[in-house]
């Protein structure tokens, strides 16, 4: 997102001297929003309308489903395995602003590099591909073996052999192969739940693998149902999961 639609659209912020600490700025945090300080209370409604004209909405705050973040994904990042931005928009349109026991963050990353930190969100999606080899197409050059940073591949009898326990599902091998011998056996998003940052950071736990967008939306829906039903006021999702037990949570969310 660039600042230009905002600059054109909001006289409330434009009228501020740029040297004043009140110009629109990116707070540099992980929320990926634009922060516009120093807008007078009585001008907020006018500013909201100006922003709406530029296609921007006010981000939810408080105990709500927050604006969904994403890594750049396809087609911007060359490592990307998915269109993280469009999935994030889909999630945002459906759930953003929902009133919940506490704040709730969601993010989408388009490969296992996990740049938008899916493990530090209440719900995090991280695209992954499980490779398999068509041995006939392999000419045994060994390039994929050298490329794999996880040492998940070794050449055996002139062909690469995959150690699934080391593989992080990044598809580097597929993208390096000059003969397209690696194919995708399964692809989709890994789902992490219950992560958070802040005073007591905790890593989210992986609760599902290779889900598509539709299944992902369903998992969020069930997760929020569970949270609304069992969560105490000001209890983050991760704390709820630890209180009731992850098996019960997973059973409810994955069904």
């Amino acid at each position: 997102m660039t600042s230009s639609p905002y600059a054109c659209a909001c006289p409330a912020a434009q009228s501020l001297p740029t040297s004043f600490p009140g110009s629109p700025r990116w707070p540099g945090g992980t929320a990926q929003g634009i922060e516009i300080p120093w807008i007078k209370f009585k001008e907020i409604e006018a500013a909201r309308k100006d922003l709406a004209g530029a296609g921007l909405t006010l981000g939810p705050c408080g105990p709500r489903f927050r604006t969904v973040t994403a890594c750049p994904g396809l087609p911007v990042c060359r490592r990307a395995l998915a269109d993280s931005q469009s999935f994030a928009r889909q999630i945002d349109q459906k759930f953003s602003g929902w009133l919940l026991p506490h704040k709730f963050k969601a993010t989408v990353s388009a490969c296992p590099n996990a740049c938008s930190r899916p493990q530090e969100n209440e719900i995090g999606f991280c695209a992954a591909v499980q490779p398999y080899m068509e041995a006939d197409a392999c000419m045994g050059c060994g390039l994929c073996v050298d490329i794999c940073r996880e040492k998940a591949l070794v050449l055996q009898d002139g062909k690469p052999l995959l150690d699934k326990s080391r593989c992080v599902l990044c598809a580097d091998c597929m993208q390096s192969c000059p003969t397209d011998a690696w194919k995708a056996e399964r692809m989709g998003y890994a789902v992490y739940a219950g992560g958070k940052n802040g005073r007591h950071p905790t890593q989210g736990e992986k609760i599902a693998d290779f889900v598509n967008e539709e299944q992902g939306m369903m998992i969020i829906q069930r997760c929020l149902d569970f949270y609304l039903q069992h969560g105490k006021k000001r209890e983050r999702l991760g704390d709820l999961i630890r209180r009731v037990g992850r098996d019960e949570f997973k059973a409810a969310v994955l069904q």
Binding site: M139, C141, G142, L143, D146, I147, S176, P178, T179
Partner: protein
């Protein structure tokens, strides 16, 4: 006779830039042998060559971290 391009010591994106410049001097159907000393650069160069329509005839590791790509130049119809 195949032409040779030694890109050992070069880094991305110069590896592909120099490959492209050299290919421009060749006729369609001619081969070029490229030497690189990095597997990631080798993967990038071969992927870029393929996406521009050229044909990888051979790709292999020579001794000591050296990779060799043999590519056949294809004139691409940009219609």
């Amino acid at each position: 006779m195949t032409e040779e391009l030694d890109l050992r010591g070069e880094v991305c994106p110069y590896t592909f830039v120099k490959t492209k410049l050299r290919l421009e001097e060749l006729d369609s159907g001619q081969d070029l042998t490229i030497l690189l000393d990095d597997s990631a650069a080798t993967a990038n160069v071969s992927r870029s060559l393929r996406s521009e329509g050229h044909e990888i005839l051979d790709l292999k590791a020579l001794s000591g971290e050296v990779w060799q790509i043999v590519v056949k130049k294809n004139e691409i119809d940009l219609q």
